[in-house]
Amino acid sequence: METPAIHCRELTKTYAGRPPVEAVRGIDMTVAEGECFGVLGPNGAGKTTTIEILEGLLDQTSGEVEILGMQWRHAAESIRESIGISLQETRFSDKLSVLETLNLFRSFYRHGITVSEAIERVGLEDKAQAWVKNLSGGQQQRLAVAAAIVGDPRLLFLDEPTTGLDPQSRRQLWDIIRRYGAQGRSVLLTTHYMEEAEQLCDRVAIIDRGKIIALGSPRELIARLGGEHVIEFTLTPNATTLNQSENDWTQVNHVTGSVYEDGCHRLTVTQPHLVIPQILSHVEQAGVQLGSLTTRHARLEDVFVQLTGRHLDDTPEVPA
């Protein structure tokens, strides 16, 4: 059987304190060679702790970790040579140029690609001589990715690679990551942008409160909602109760899930064209009016809301 890029079993991490904080509470995960795997979850879910244990920067409290078939305590140096890492919020030295920064990182690895190739892969040719402090946020993130791939790693770790970037910079980074994955390399990325995971990842694990609450391809997870479509509507006046079962629309045919939140009804449905007429007739019977009604494809965000009753993040997503 092929060696997985990442394998971890019953991983836990408890930070000492009063009370102790259980950041990771038993995570099992296998990332196949060549796979792009996403770890999703809200801030504070344990994503960074998990990835830093896998990267060998933190010690786990208990559990097993294997990276490319090797263990940190036996083969740390070999693992370091074979992985590339982009941490959350690294600020490279302001007064070094892109070229100088990458020359430095390249010197740490025995094997790797040339610095000019790394610069080319992230599209920073024009900025090679520019000081880091003169780069935009997106360019700095691309530099971080260049520093991560300059050692030609078999496995790439990216912790929140696009947080705080504008939509265009985010798309540029997605292209770089996609091209990297297309070479048959493995990628593990954390994000709290659902769209990012849908765009990039073969499989995702949704983490909440230190545990995996859902695992599968984005398509599978959405399919698990039971419906691939979402209908959202509001009513005026804000009549919260329409039918007897207190906002529960699951009684209606073809409705697989129902959430009521801040005046907005959100239904996951299999057949929107059959559900919408029923909504309209209920509205008419109740003697209220529709404020708004929209339909869209279900997203991973809906999976998270369905599973936890909470939202991942309030940051606006990149418009499709």
Binding site: L57, I85, T90, S93, E100, L104, S107
Partner: protein
């Protein structure tokens, strides 16, 4: 996997080399840092060296009350250079004008002849005013000699104005030591805390970089900065003030290296846990202040009470400055400085050992 990088030679692509280069570039691209490390000690030397330079002989401003004897007195005084030329012109004025001059501080002393019974001369002056007593004695000597006094004892004066015994000669080794202290602490300590804040230490740790390469590069770049720093100060002192080294240059070089290592170690120790620049600056000033005051940079440690001297002599900077001064001023051999060198080495070993034990990478 692609073949190893072939661009550039092996030395240039060695991690130590790259780390040292990065440190040097960052430093040179920071004008403020360059000033504090290189410009400041030089400015300090120029300022203090000028303030305490050996001035030409001070003139003594006096006035003589206009009597028939005044021209004779003037003639006696003018045998001395202090009563001739700009600032030293002796004026002959009326009694009222003389008093006016004394009140306004334009003259130090009034000489009048035959004004009180039983006295040939009367000196009027304010003994509280600096220089007035010395003026009185000088004038008294001149007049007494002119009147026929013969000194029973003969005295010879040996005035030290040769390079080697001046204040600036004392000061330069002190400034060298102070520069090594500041440079080591800021150069190593501040740089490391800065890397930690930026999470670059952690980022380096995520690569196959060896920790020994990182710490080694810190020390190497420190030594390279030190060479420039020391050369600027020593050559500047030589050209501006004629300060020469009376001892062996090799001995000075060795002491400089020892000092750079000692304070590099202290910088490392202070930075081993600090997580903000405020913490590290506070700690550094706390450690450096007692040594600025008490380690003999500007004045000898012997000015402090004996009990305090025992403590001060144990501080890291004191033996370094003492040794540098002994070599540069008196031409002492390193062999005679073994106790001091031993103390410096001890500080170096202890600080490095503690720093290695406590150092936090993330």
């Amino acid at each position: 996997m692609s073949p190893p990088v072939t661009s550039g030679n092996r030395l240039a692509s060695h991690p130590m080399m790259q780390l040292v280069l990065s440190r040097m570039r960052e430093f040179w691209r920071q004008p403020a840092a360059v000033f504090w490390v290189y410009g400041f000690p030089l400015l300090m030397m120029v300022a203090l060296g000028t303030a305490f330079r050996n001035r030409p002989v001070d003139k003594i401003p006096v006035t003589i009350v206009n009597t028939s004897e005044a021209p004779a007195i003037l003639k006696i005084l003018q045998q001395d250079e202090r009563f001739v030329g700009p600032g030293g012109e002796v004026e002959i004025l009326s009694p009222e004008e003389c008093k006016q001059q004394l009140r306004t501080g334009k003259t130090l002393l009034i000489i009048s002849a035959n004004t009180s019974p039983g006295a040939d001369y009367t000196f009027t002056y304010d003994p509280e005013r600096p220089g007035s007593l010395s003026a009185r004695n000088t004038i008294n000597d001149l007049l007494q000699k002119a009147g026929g006094r013969r000194d029973p004892l003969s005295v010879s004066n040996n005035e030290v104005r040769e390079p080697g015994g001046r204040y600036i000669d004392f000061l330069v080794p002190g400034l060298l030591g102070m520069g090594l202290m500041g440079g080591g602490m800021w150069g190593v300590g501040f740089a490391i805390v800065n890397l930690r804040i930026r999470k670059l230490l952690k980022r380096y740790l995520a690569t196959p970089m060896r920790r020994s390469h990182f710490l080694g590069s810190m020390m190497i770049s420190r030594l390279l900065f030190t060479v420039t720093e020391v050369l600027i100060l020593v050559l500047g002192a030589r050209w501006l003030f004629g300060v020469v080294n009376h001892g062996s240059f090799l001995a000075v070089a060795l002491l400089v290296i020892l000092g750079a290592c000692q304070f590099g170690g202290m910088g490392l120790l202070i930075a081993s846990r600090a997580e903000t620049t405020e913490t590290v600056s506070g700690l550094m000033n706390l450690v450096m202040l007692p040594m600025w005051i008490g380690s003999g940079v500007f004045y000898s440690v012997e000015r402090f009470p004996a009990v305090l001297q025992m403590v001060l002599n144990a501080l890291p900077l004191t033996p370094l400055i003492y040794s540098l001064r002994s070599v540069m001023q008196d031409g002492a051999s390193l062999l005679s400085l073994l106790p001091q060198i031993g103390l410096i080495s001890l500080w170096t070993i202890v600080t490095f050992a503690l720093a290695m034990r406590w150092f936090r990478w993330q």
